[in-house]
């Protein structure tokens, strides 16, 4: 029997984690935007009866969609592991990679498990008192968008590591995209205060701008992690270049610097 090529590839673990990352983010987008329709989020100004109607309008979607997250949500650890690996490949202290790992590992429970639990509990008993349904609705959306500190500090740690790194693991512009991601966690804070307007949890700033930044950020790091795997030489010095013209455009100022 022919041995699968992947088994002999020294980068097999990196590729497995990368493909699992793609699967996780695809699942995440499909569940939140299509199956449960919890993104874009419900309106923060809904009265209790409107919240009951909101739950009724997506009863099966909430229960099936979040069940999928209950089963497969742990795959989020693969992107955390890859990013931790990328930081360890940099010329910075391991304190950066371990901080990133622990911060993002902790983020999973308030960051996405709480919304799954709150929305499932809300959807499973539609005849519950409308006031309590709204309590669950608030818990779901505010825990999801309002779990801020882990992503704020995590992004700043990754940013600092990239800026200090001499091994050219990530392009410097991505450090500033990390800063943008960190800033989204700052501007989302007013969603704990406002029920309407640009700063409410569904507002132009607290939701629309944030989701665009997060989408760009996630797409960029998934692409850059793929480049990292292709360039990985398992050494400790600067990562070699990717033999393509496009790569030279990504690293314009640093090509040729040893």
């Amino acid at each position: 029997m022919k041995r699968p090529k992947l088994l002999d590839d020294p980068k097999r673990e990196l590729w497995l984690a990368w493909y699992a990352t793609i699967c996780f983010y695809s699942l995440y987008a499909i569940v939140f935007f299509i199956v449960t329709r919890t993104q874009p989020p419900g309106k923060p100004w809904y009265d209790p009866t409107q919240v009951v109607a909101w739950f009724a309008g997506r009863h099966e979607g909430l229960l099936i969609g979040f069940a999928l997250i209950f089963v497969l949500g742990g795959l989020s650890a693969t992107s955390i592991a890859l990013i931790t690996y990328s930081i360890r490949r940099m010329s910075v202290s391991r304190a950066y990679s371990y901080s990133y790992l622990i911060i993002y590992a902790v983020s999973a429970v308030p960051g996405f498990l709480f919304i799954c639990v709150a929305m499932t509990v809300g959807a499973m008993r539609p005849d519950r008192s409308p006031e309590i349904q709204r309590w669950l609705y608030d818990l779901g959306f505010l825990s999801f968008s309002g779990t801020m500190g882990v992503f704020l500090i995590g992004s700043l740690i990754w940013m600092t590591a990239i800026l200090l790194d001499k091994n050219r693991v990530f392009p410097k512009w991505f450090a500033y995209l990390n800063l943008c991601n960190a800033l989204t966690e700052v501007v989302v804070a007013p969603s704990w205060i406002f029920h309407t307007g640009a700063f409410a949890w569904n507002g132009v700033i607290a939701w629309w701008i944030n989701v665009v930044v997060f989408g760009l950020y996630t797409g960029a790091f998934i692409y850059l992690l793929r480049c990292l795997i292709l360039r990985e030489d398992f050494g400790t010095g600067p990562l070699p270049d990717l033999a393509s013209k496009r790569w030279h455009q990504i690293f314009p100022a640093e090509v040729g610097v040893s």
Partner: protein
């Protein structure tokens, strides 16, 4: 010269911790038999009013000791250092889920303790805490599923003459991951095998976790015997 690395202390603490877990499981009156999701708010409120002390003591025990799973998982992570892997990615994956897995149990104990804290509040609120506790406890399997998958992949990729864990341990972890899957769907129904008190979501899931602990403890014990000083073998 022999040196104490402390791994044996963690390992032999497991049977003691397991006794506490089983005791807490049996002490909680809502587990044997599992409470029905079809119970009315009045019935649920009456349950907490009648069994206040047992709910409190059992959940305080679980709250104290559920996190004791983490050092055990770290022993597995240390064994993974000896696997024929090229990168630490799979260890990072396991560390990434090792914290969240018991924190899910911890969160459910908080909801159960809240339900028992004021059993004479409005029954609708006690029903809410009870639902939050049961859904968190039952559906909160994503990190355990991923843990089993990561360990299985790690074992399959450990291709050396004397692998750290035998290949069947990988197959075993895949089977446990599959056994945990139905529990994720417990929110979909209030009766039947998928309900939180059902055959698949309660019995299969919890027995799978218990069997996983016993089997992994046995193979971990064997691996500890074979490789006494992993931390020094690889720097």
């Amino acid at each position: 010269m022999s040196r104490t690395t402390g791994e044996r202390i963690i390992f032999w603490a497991l049977p003691a911790v397991a006794v506490v877990w089983i005791a807490a499981f049996l002490l909680f009156p809502g587990f044997v038999p599992p409470m029905s999701p079809k119970a009315s708010a009045a019935q649920v409120a009456a349950f907490y009013a009648h069994h206040t002390s047992r709910v409190r003591y059992s959940m305080i025990l679980l709250n104290w000791f559920c996190v004791a799973l983490i050092p055990i998982l770290m022993l597995i992570v240390e064994r993974m250092r000896l696997m024929a892997h090229r990168t630490p990615i799979l260890r990072y994956c396991v560390i990434g889920v090792a914290g969240a897995a018991p924190i899910v149990f911890l969160t459910s104990t908080v909801f159960w303790l809240l339900a028992a804290f004021r059993p004479y509040r409005s029954p609708d609120l006690t029903l809410l805490y009870n639902d939050l506790a049961w859904i968190t406890f039952t559906c909160g399997v994503p990190f355990l599923v991923a843990l089993c998958l990561f360990i299985a992949v790690a074992i399959y990729l450990d291709q050396q003459a004397e692998p750290v864990f035998a290949r069947w341990v990988g197959h075993f972890n895949l089977i446990i991951a599959v056994a945990l899957v139905p529990a994720g769907f417990a929110g979909l129904t209030l009766s039947g095998v998928f309900a939180w008190n059902g055959f698949l979501s309660f019995w299969v899931k919890n027995v799978a976790i218990a069997v996983w602990l016993v089997v992994m403890a046995v193979v971990l014990g064997g691996a500890l015997q074979r490789h006494r000083e992993p931390a020094e073998a690889l720097v």
